[in-house]
Amino acid sequence: MVDTFILGKSELNIDAPEKIAGRAKYAIDMTLPGMLHARVLRSPRAHARILSIDTSAARAIPGVLAVITAQDMPHLEDFPGDRPTLALDRVCYIGDAVAAVAAETLELAEQALAAIKVEYEDLPAVFDPEVAMSETTPVIIHPSGKGPGGKVMGNNQAHWYGAADGDLDKGFAEADLIVENRFTTGMAQCTPMEPHVALADVDIYDNCAIYCNTQTPYLVKQRVAEILKVSPHKIRIIVPPHIGGGFGCKTRMKGEGIAAALSRAARKPVKLVYTREEVFADTTVKHPFVIYIKDGVKQDGTLVARSIRAILDAGAYTDGTVGGLVTRNAAYGAVGVYKVPNFKLDNFRVYTNKPVGGAFRGFGVAQTTWAVESQMDIIAEKLGMDPLELRLKNLLVDGDYNPEQYLMDAVGSYPTVQKAAELIEWGTPADAPISPTAKRAKGIAIGCKHFSIQTSSAAIKIHEDGSFEVRSSVTDIGQGSRTVMAQIVAEEFKVQMSQVRVIRVDTDVTPLDTGQSGSSTTVKAGHAVRLACKETKRQLFDRAASLLEAAAGDLDTAGGRVFVKGSPDRSIAIKDLFLKLPMGAPGYEYGPFLENYSELVGGAMFYPQNERGPKGEVLPKVGFSYCSQAVDLEVDVETGRIKIHKLVSILDPGKPMNDQMAIGQIEGGVGFGIGTGIFEEMSFRDGKPTNANLTDYRIPTALDVPNVDQLVFGQVETNFAYGPYGAKGIGEVVVCATAAAIANAIRSATGVRVLAMPLTQERVALAIAEYEASRA
């Protein structure tokens, strides 16, 4: 980034000093006087009718102050209307919330749960989405949604998204080679280290304050208002401000509604902290996919046709708009990188009696990328081509239209994959494996993910000492969005970071934002803060103009002073714009003020539909960021164990807002990519989770990731005209390519192609054993 004052530089995360000192306040640390503790009773049945719920014994326990069921809060999310907050008359998965209690201690709350008697009548259940959508399905979980042509779809099909380009039949007829495969992905959990927390306090007027760790404060505000049947203005969402990770599963309402309903019933503050088991099975999970892909290619490697049919395992419900969005957005993983003149895609999201699929870092794109980037290597091998060469031959470039008719711009696939190839020394064989029973090779894959260009607003206040306050409802789940917002204000007003304070999210004070999702924060909050700075400057210059005897349009600001452009000697300190009464005058003790403003604060809304690009054009709904990865690994042919010798990850961030934080996203993405690529898979027996804990569900430990000198991270910049200061959203693309790069290396090393992800030791070992047996 050229000519910036502070943007793009590796400014220290403003929250880091508090965090390393153990002083940072998270929702889990919040308490209120007289606070009660909540627990939720969850279904032990995968699918059952509720015949009766008897809470009388629970209510009779001294110290139990509230017991609620759906009778007390018959709430059903308004869209698409399949998910109650507490089960109405039926439970649809093991973990479905049935009742909740609030008591003086957690021990009493647990006693109360044990005293609630629920009578169930089992219903048939279904756990495989391909069975659930078949004509012979044992059960209809919910009515189906609408599919192609606006027609109601087949059994249990919640959502459909389709895209098409060219003439598929013609494309396949032209092809010299047709390659068909079926890929699958496992169910994963975001696994933030801080569980979901909601501390709700409802007063006698039904004003409700909730301290929580949500990624979407304004959405929670609306949902809680529905549950309490009060105006949203009575609901106040406060993030304290630190959040111990999110990655998707803290979007939308989780425990906040239940905590609020309990607090209203007890008229006392109620704190609900999810157990780790609840985080696993009862928040939201990564949709497992089954992906059928059929490609037609010419002998020279030109892709001429591609058809994809993806089946998303929805679980028991739809997480509001998220279910439809994942169904739609998964398509981006199939269209962002390659030219395909004849194309068809159909994604179906199908109900099963399992935990609910929701937002998960990668948002469907990680799953489709797994299939597409594995498939590219399979095609290359069949054609006898180098897999990198096949990729380069088919890349979309700036000015191309992708198969969904998006005009491609700021395409980063070429520079990222070239750089990754260079750093892994592509074309040079891997060194010999270290273990005598292992085989070693390299693999490569391109990740491309959309980031949504969403709505956000911000306000910037200038205090009487000339310092700045940022008000935004963007939460910081660890990636550093609070720091980046402060950097933008420091950049715009040319002041040091120490002059800028970002207040905590508090919906009574901080303005509307659409939540931390879809890698949207940098772009939307960046624009909102930039626009708010512009408005604040306008007010500031209006006030300074008469004192400096200049037109407001001729003024600029830096270092806490306003000056006339071109005449820096004609200037005034910002603090001197505030009226300071003489010492001893009535009122002087209360500090400086503005005689005709309540405060000097400029607010702005970034509403993409209102904005125009550099040439006056309408803003696109999404942009694309890129992250290519290359790996050098050995795999033990006896145990299936993978050892990574080198992993290169190259990101296109547009122009990074904060260099070190962008690298932080690449690093975290690698950790996530390795975890979801090699280890992580939620497992079930008849719908019952069998590994809903951090021992059996293994996220990478320090022993499971490559050593520090084996990880190579880099960035190549592209020119993204619609980003604030050229920045793209980057939080998710970094996780997309890892699994395919690893699978491609395993194939090169062993001859075994694994089509199911994650590439667990067991799965790889079995695949190698089968392969060896078939060759014997």
Partner: protein, 157 residues
């Protein structure tokens, strides 16, 4: 129910508490003493967010009974620095921006501190072994391992 008496030195200060015999050390620290720097992540000893030092050794306080701390010395994240002076590990973690969400940081720092006190010159493998029980979901442990290496290279004060 008879309460258990706990006399312990916590962050250099003698404390006397009476706790329920089933109360965990984590609950005693967070709820009774309001030392909330130590975090709760899993309540099963799996994630390491609640790591504190008991007689200099790292323990997961969520599965350690408070009563077992009787007569012993406990160190938490709040006890290793003053507002003016950070522990060298904290300085280095800060310099390298080793953490993101920071939720694992207190436990990670306590495990690292115990390692360096026991083994001032650990190999990378020994560092990874020592923090293998402290899960971090935001990073790939790069800055964390480097920070510990740097502090070891400089020598702990």
């Amino acid at each position: 129910m008879t309460k258990a008496e706990v006399r312990a030195t916590i962050n250099g200060r003698e404390r006397e508490l009476r706790v329920d015999p089933w109360r965990t050390l984590l609950e005693m620290l967070r709820d009774d003493l309001e030392l909330t720097g130590t975090k709760l992540g899993c309540e099963a000893g799996e994630c390491g967010a609640c790591t504190v030092l008991l007689d200099g050794k790292p323990v997961v306080s969520c599965v350690t009974l408070a009563a077992d701390a009787d007569g012993r010395t406990i160190e938490t994240i709040e006890g290793i620095s003053t507002p003016e002076h950070l522990h060298p590990l904290q300085d280095e973690f800060l310099k390298l921006s080793a953490f993101q969400c920071g939720y694992c940081a207190p436990g990670m720092i306590m495990s690292s501190k115990a390692l360096l006190e026991h083994n001032p010159n650990p190999t990378e493998g020994e560092i990874r072994d020592a923090i293998a029980g402290n899960l971090c979901r935001c990073t790939a442990y790069v800055g964390i391992v480097k920070a510990i290496q740097n502090v070891a290279a400089e020598g702990v004060s």
